[in-house]
């Protein structure tokens, strides 16, 4: 429009203003016309600035005052750089602008203006050379529009596009984009090309049943029919057949949405092989936990039977809970060691937890680093518990000075042997074998049965002695069998 005005192509302008439409005639070059032109330019929403050949400002309109935050009275006569600094978007723009002005008398393009208060603006400028009646260049007229908001919006759109493209390309789901009308694939992400073994170019233009996802055309049509009703379709478990004929289980979620007014289908295809495997594994673990719990309850039940069978009924509850605690301590060790066997020293310490303060003084523990099998740990653990209980009631730990020496060793030979002993000394005089009961059965038989070995018990005057001998392969977990 300004160009038309400058070239005298219009005779009059009607401009909407706060006081109603105003008519400006543009005929003639007199002062009155110039005033009209000035008033008219004041109504324009773009900033208009005219400078002379020395870049001194000879005119700026109201929009320019607002844009740069500078009143005309202060700006007139000053240079452009007194109201803003400019920066080119691309280095070559400066030369292009100079050439345009010189050769065609105009330039139009984007640049960045910095106001004096530091605010940065993206601007779209139209720059035209001003000439006098003889054609001599007298200055330049710039019409400047603030496009910062538009620019920011464009940046947001571009960033969003980059972001979603990256998501698409790095997604852990295979993604196919389909045209609902033709049912053909229009885009495919790198993961689905790897899952299927087809190149991107082969996928684009194909239908789902042609690339091994749905079984036939009817299934493909059915999916689209459902999508048009519900906008989303989910297949929990579909076989996905790849180019080589291999099949993997996938979950497919298809959604229908509009993109620029056109319907688009997006299919997310997730490989659920791992998930299936993990579900199976959890199921297996739960079953195993159940089995172990039942076995342990069966052991507790057996201990309860035996505890009830012997001894004073008045102390039944106390004796039973002691034994259950001992079983629990042994169980803890098995779990801590992932059911892979238990260190002898750990087992001894766990079963003598009540005498922790005496360990190293009246209770001496010595033996090499060796790991018992699960069965051996359970049998020997129960025997140690009964031995300790007996020692505390009748033996070396029932007075203030008796000692217990617990030792084990591995003897290497033609047949390697695991030996373990419990030797009491300094206890009250042993007068008779300890009372018949489950404890004695455990000490005599349980540990021996667990390692298919032999247990000997001797009631010497100085104190009880217990020795266990077993083939090393029955007692120790294979990783440590035969260790020093």
């Amino acid at each position: 429009m300004l160009r038309a005005i400058r070239c005298d192509e219009v005779d009059a302008l009607v401009i909407q203003s706060s006081i109603g439409p105003q008519v400006y005639t543009l005929q003639g070059q007199d002062a009155e016309t110039n005033r009209f032109r000035g008033e008219m330019l004041a109504q324009v929403s773009d900033a208009v600035i005219a400078v002379d050949n020395e870049e001194r400002i000879i005119y700026l309109n109201a929009a320019a005052e607002r844009l740069y935050g500078f009143e005309a009275s202060r700006a007139l006569g000053g240079t452009l750089s007194s109201i803003y600094e400019s920066r080119w978007l691309r280095p070559e723009d400066e030369a292009v602008a100079a050439t345009g002005l010189r050769e065609r008398g105009e330039w139009r393009g984007e640049s960045v203006h910095f106001r004096r208060d530091g605010r940065e603006m993206n601007v779209d400028s139209g720059v035209t050379a001003l000439r006098d009646s003889t054609g001599q260049r007298t200055g330049v007229l710039s019409v400047i529009r603030d496009v910062t908001e538009r620019k920011q919006h464009e940046n947001r759109v571009r960033n969003s596009e980059i972001r979603y493209r990256r998501l698409f390309e790095t997604a852990n789901d295979g993604i196919l984009i389909l045209d609902p009308d033709s049912r053909k694939i229009t885009d495919a992400n790198p993961l689905i090309t790897r899952m299927l073994g087809y190149p991107h170019s082969k996928l684009v233009g194909s239908e789902l049943f042609e690339i091994g996802l749905l079984k036939d055309q009817a299934a493909s049509q059915e999916m689209i029919r459902q999508l048009s009703q519900t906008k989303q379709v989910r297949y929990e478990n579909l076989p996905l057949r790849n180019r080589e004929g291999g099949v993997q289980e996938v979950e497919v979620v298809a959604i229908l949405y509009n993109q620029d007014g056109r319907p688009v289908i997006q299919c997310n295809i997730r490989d659920i092989t791992e998930r299936r495997r993990s579900e199976e594994h959890v199921k297996m673990l739960m079953a195993e936990v159940n089995h172990r719990a039942k076995n342990l309850l069966a052991v507790v039940q057996a201990v309860a039977y035996q505890t009830g069978k012997y001894g004073d009924p008045a102390t039944l509850t106390a004796r039973l809970s002691d034994r259950i605690e001992a079983l629990a301590a042994g169980h803890d060790l098995l779990v801590k060691n992932h059911w892979q066997g238990v260190k002898v020293a750990d087992l001894v310490e766990a079963q003598l937890a009540h005498f922790r303060d005496l360990i190293g003084e009246r209770v001496l523990i010595e033996g090499p680093d060796a790991r018992l099998t699960m069965a051996a740990a359970q049998g020997i653990g129960m025997a140690l518990h009964e031995l300790a209980t007996n020692a505390a009631k009748h033996g070396a730990l029932s007075n203030l000075e008796g000692t217990v020496r617990i030792a084990w060793q591995v003897t290497n030979g033609a047949k390697s042997t695991f030996t373990m002993s419990w030797l009491e000394d300094g206890g009250p005089k042993v007068v008779a074998p300890m009372g018949k009961g489950f404890g004695q059965i455990v000490i005599r038989r349980m540990a021996a049965a667990a390692v298919q070995g032999v247990a000997e018990i001797d009631f010497r005057e100085g104190g009880l002695s217990w020795r266990l001998n077993a083939p090393v392969e029955n007692a120790l977990a294979s990783t440590t069998a035969g260790s020093r």
């Binding site: 079953a287 159940n290 089995h291 172990r292 719990a293 039942k294 076995n295 309850l297 069966a298 052991v299 507790v300 039940q301 057996a302 201990v303 309860a304 039977y305 035996q306 009830g308 069978k309 099998t373 699960m374 069965a375 359970q378 049998g379 129960m382 059965i441 038989r445 349980m446 049965a449 667990a450 298919q452």
Partner: protein
């Protein structure tokens, strides 16, 4: 298998105990003796169990489904092959046991001793009248 004695030679059926839990094996042993059975052997290992079955020393068996991680299925097959009745005693449910156990009489651990004794009697043909189960055997399981 023809070498083995018949059940009623001495009126005390001989039971093989295949159980990897020593406490339980011991309890089974005691309870069976108290209820009029004889113990043919106690083992926690599959090879030993197979050898005992082969030698024909037992009239019936109590079989744990799993021996320290080893499937006891082959022992079940061997028992069937020799026509020896058996009771499966296991912490596993029926569907977790190998197919060798299918159709066998199964008791789920934990299981009261009176039930074990009743199950054994039920799989042995025409036994003498059951002796009274001693008090310990009649205790209610925990």
């Amino acid at each position: 298998m023809s070498a083995r004695k018949t059940i009623f030679d001495d009126q005390h059926p001989r039971v093989l105990i295949v159980e990897d839990e020593p406490v339980l094996a011991l309890l089974l042993e005691e309870c069976l003796i108290e209820t009029g059975f004889e113990i043919a052997g106690v083992t926690a290992r599959l090879e030993a169990a197979l050898a005992m079955i082969e030698s024909g020393v037992c009239d019936a068996a109590i079989l744990d489904g799993n021996l320290a991680g080893v499937d006891a299925g082959p022992a079940a097959s061997a028992l069937r092959a020799h026509g020896i009745p058996f009771v499966v005693l296991s912490g596993y449910s029926a569907d977790q046991l190998s197919s060798a156990f299918s159709g066998a009489l199964r008791l789920q651990k934990p299981c009261g001793m009176d039930r074990v004794v009743r199950a054994l009697r039920s799989i042995l043909p025409a036994l003498p009248p059951p002796p009274v189960i001693p008090s310990a055997g009649e205790q209610t399981p925990v």
